[in-house]
């Protein structure tokens, strides 16, 4: 039994590599950060096409669409007791940009650099923060980006106590590490919970932040316990060793939902699972082959078994819930049609191919299923399993034939996916912008142009229509076979009240949860 004032979640938190919001870019970290740090604005979980204020009381956009002015709520305090001022916000932006870690691009794409950030993101008084962008982007785009965890507000005073001096060099122009080393495991936020401890592959412990300005959490403590296996999570849940199981697989979901003491909840997430075909491969390059492959997935069977309850068949690159998502699933398993297409492509007897597959579920199962359906059309597919990092390394080096992967949006805006699936400014091996299109050696300049245009469309409805158009074209012609969109499921003990999963990974809030 878990203590009454503590929530224990079983969760596969093995992706966490840092707790610094300026550096972290992992899904599990996003959940922890969103529960322990505050932002200027947050996604409105009741209507995901909108944002609402968090630290910001209100905001306005200038007519030229370049300047965003935020007014902060008053009397706010960090967990440390330090007051939250616009200066902290500005410094958090500056810090993220100058650190220049993985998620920094979410901010720098608005034209911020280390040299100009102090000017472009600054506090004009204690309560006013002004943010200037370089182009008249769609405001929904800018605000959506500001809901990303990289924009979390850190306690400047506290962090400055922990900075480590470094000697500037060609790579790194600044004389300190902005507290990065300390913040990897430390905490300087103002969210509903304080981060008490993170031990890699073991545990994350959150404790109630009594200085939190919003609704006080009901529980004293939230513990994320590292558990990888679904069956283990289920066991522990049934035994009452954990309150919530976060990574259940279909069979275990069934069992949990049948158990009188337990319940399940779910929410669609922005993660898309796809199979991509590398255009470096002569066969896979052919449009007919690409289309044939889209007919060689047994979507129905997969939907009814392997991803039952944890995903929904989805064949476009924008996940449901995001602006402009297209909900069309035209492809079905059709071996005859596929054979026809293969014949047209000049490979009527099929060919041999490899696929790199992470050895986790459900991708392994899907890969095995595809192996069988492809075989029906004469395509011999060999599975090369590997640890996640290993297959990714290969993927990023473009040495794969086929790859089964998942893609979660970097921030909750259609541009994130549109950019990575269509953009490819330099298709040479030396290309530095390693979008998914680049990784599969595929160029679609027309679609890319359309996506860029949508970015500057300030009317949200029109913007949505533009993205739908791109997706339609993409469906017909691309080396990506989209399979499903993830649904996040959790099983919990019925003693847990008010537990809800949000629409994205940084909206799974634990603050409202109570236990009886």
């Amino acid at each position: 039994e878990t203590p009454k004032d503590t929530l224990v979640e079983g969760f596969a938190i093995d992706d966490i590599i840092t707790m610094d919001p300026g550096e972290a870019f992992e899904l599990s970290t996003a959940e922890v950060t969103s529960n322990s740090y505050s932002l200027l604005v947050r996604l409105d979980i009741n209507d995901t096409s909108k944002v609402k204020g968090d630290l910001a009381e209100s905001w306005s956009v200038s007519d030229d669409g370049l300047t965003y002015t935020f007014k902060l709520k008053s009397g706010l305090k960090f967990a440390s007791g330090n007051p939250i001022t616009a200066e902290d916000v500005a410094w958090s932006f500056e810090r993220a940009v100058k650190l220049d870690k993985s998620p920094a691009f979410i901010l720098t794409q608005f034209g911020l650099t280390g040299d100009n950030v102090a000017e472009k993101a600054k506090a004009t008084d204690a309560n006013t923060f002004v943010f200037t962008v370089d182009k008249p982007y769609a405001p929904s785009f800018v605000l959506n980006c500001l809901t990303a965890t990289v924009a979390s507000v850190v306690d400047k005073k506290l962090v400055l106590e922990h900075v480590k001096a470094v000697t500037p060099d060609a790579e790194h122009k600044y004389d300190n590490d902005f507290g990065n080393e300390w913040l990897k495991t430390g905490y300087a936020g103002s969210g509903a919970f304080k981060l008490r401890q993170w031990r890699a592959n073991e545990v994350v412990v959150l404790e109630r932040n009594d200085n939190y300005y919003g609704d006080k959490p009901k529980l004293n403590r939230v513990i994320y316990r590292y558990m990888k296996e679904s069956s283990a999570q289920r066991l522990a849940l049934e035994a009452g060793d954990i309150d919530i199981a976060r990574n259940l697989e279909p069979g275990d979901i069934d069992a949990v939902s049948k158990n009188a003491d337990l319940a399940t909840t779910s929410a669609p997430k922005g993660t898309i699972y796809y199979v991509s075909l590398n255009n470096k491969n002569e066969n896979l390059k052919k449009p007919e082959v690409q289309e044939a492959f889209k007919y060689l997935v047994d979507y129905d069977a997969i939907g009814a078994t392997l991803i039952k309850g944890i995903g929904e068949i989805h064949q476009t690159f924008l996940p449901k819930g995001q602006l402009g998502a297209l909900d069309e699933n035209p492809y079905k398993l059709d071996v005859a049609k596929a054979k026809e297409l293969l014949a047209k492509a000049g490979v009527p007897n099929g060919f041999s191919i490899t696929m790199d597959v992470r050895n986790t579920q459900p991708v392994t199962g899907i890969a095995e299923s595809m192996q069988q359906t492809l075989a029906q059309a004469g395509v011999k597919m060999e599975i090369i399993p590997g640890d996640g990092k290993q297959t990714l390394t290969k993927y990023r080096a473009r040495t794969h034939d086929m790859y089964i992967g998942q893609w979660g949006s970097d921030y909750f805006d259609p541009n994130s996916n549109a950019d990575t699936f269509t953009g490819n400014p330099d298709n040479s091996d030396a290309g530095t912008v390693k979008t998914l299109a680049w990784r599969n050696t595929w160029e679609a300049p027309e679609l890319d142009k359309e996506a860029k245009a949508a970015l500057l469309e300030r009317d949200a409805a029109k913007r949505a229509a533009m993205y739908q158009d791109i997706q339609k074209k993409y469906l017909a012609n691309s080396p990506f076979v989209f399979i499903f969109q993830q649904t996040e499921v959790a099983g919990y003990r019925k003693s847990v009240k008010d537990f809800k999963l949000g629409p994205s990974f940084d909206t799974n809030f634990v603050g409202p949860i109570a236990k009886e």
Partner: protein, 352 residues
């Protein structure tokens, strides 16, 4: 005709000992170096981009390039190795990418967990295995012998992870006799401060018996499983050593003295069998330290085996190397220790 030879001259014993020690140290150092070299080069040819492990998949290209240079991954292998060795000689094992802690800190946490598990396992194995082996040898060919033999053989033949899974289902899921995988219930993590890292000892020492009970419920299943495996080995070796000793002439002499069977077996035969048995138990202990890799995986035991496996899968080479060095040290240490024990137990090798 063969007779006892004159005792060899004693002079030069101290010199010989120093020489033996020197040879041992030299061997240990070269073994270490080889160990390091092999692991290092394996680590560097692992088809995982180490930078990926540090940054994750979605890092922009320029960040990746920068980090790669910062970490020295663009240097030739031998240069990286040189830098690494230099670091180690100055006592720096580097930081783990995965946990961001210094590797030594991680190991200090993980190592006691493994040692506690393996120690308890060996204890179980030895306390049950030795009497069983003796019994089998004394009752050679009897039903008891066959049973011990089959029990041992099954121990040799069953996949440990499979047995672990099955027993977890039975003893945890069905019977609820034991606690969930892990070392200690999460709630105690905050009321209990380990000192040595051996939770059983620590909790008993501090008189926290509820913690002790909880820790016990966690460790007992994996330890029993490991114990079973060492039991298989130990009972088998005990049997064979005992049979060997029981066929010796001094056993006949002991019986001729009118000693009871119990004394002959436990006082003479086992005392002699104990000499090689120490080595066997030490070996099985070392074996459990490594055998715990799979057990630790199944039981989420935060020990060194799990640490190395995790690190390896993430190309976290500092951690892998650190862990390997520790295990290597323990192996070498155990060998030395069993050698010393052998010497103390066997007067024939004792220097007087």
């Amino acid at each position: 005709m063969e007779t006892t030879q004159e005792a060899r001259p004693r002079k030069g014993r101290a010199g010989a000992f120093a020489k033996a020690l020197g040879r041992f140290l030299f061997a240990a150092v070269t073994t270490y170096f080889g160990l390091l070299a092999v692991t290092f080069f394996i680590g560097r040819v692992v088809p995982i981009d180490p930078v990926l492990a540090i940054l994750g998949d979605r890092a922009p290209a320029h960040v990746v390039e920068r980090v790669r240079r910062e970490m020295g991954f663009d240097l030739p292998l031998y240069e990286q190795f040189y830098i690494y060795i230099k670091g180690i000689l100055s006592g720096d094992f580097g930081n783990s990418v995965l946990t961001t802690n210094p590797v030594m800190v991680d190991i200090r946490r993980a190592f006691p967990a493994t040692v506690e598990l393996a120690t308890l396992g060996t204890l179980i194995g030895a306390c049950v295995g030795v009497p069983l082996g003796v019994l089998a040898a004394v009752r050679r060919g009897s039903i008891a012998d066959q049973v011990v033999r089959v029990v041992g053989l099954i121990g040799y033949s069953v996949p440990i992870f499979w047995l672990a899974l099955i027993s977890l289902v039975i003893f945890y899921a069905q019977l609820r006799w034991v606690a969930f995988p892990g070392r200690i219930d999460i709630v105690f993590e905050y009321t209990f401060t380990p000192i040595t890292g051996f939770y059983l000892l620590d909790s008993a020492w501090q008189g926290q018996w509820d913690v002790f009970y909880d820790v016990f419920r966690h460790i007992i299943l994996p330890a029993s499983l490991l114990g079973y495996f060492s039991l298989a080995y130990i009972s088998r070796m005990t049997r064979s050593f005992m049979l060997n000793e029981l066929s010796q002439e001094y056993i006949v002499a002991a019986r001729a003295k009118g000693l009871s069977e119990t004394r002959v077996i436990w006082g003479h035969a086992l005392r002699n069998a104990a000499v090689p048995l120490v080595t066997v138990i030490a070996l099985s202990y070392a074996g459990l330290l490594e055998g715990s890799v799979l057990t630790e995986t199944v039981f989420s035991w935060p020990g060194i085996g799990l640490y190395i496996t995790n690190s390896l899968q993430n190309a976290d080479m500092n951690a892998v190397l650190g862990g390997t060095i520790v295990i290597g040290t323990v192996f070498i240490g155990i060998n030395l220790l069993s050698d010393l024990l052998y010497r103390t137990l066997d007067p024939r090798t004792r220097n007087r």
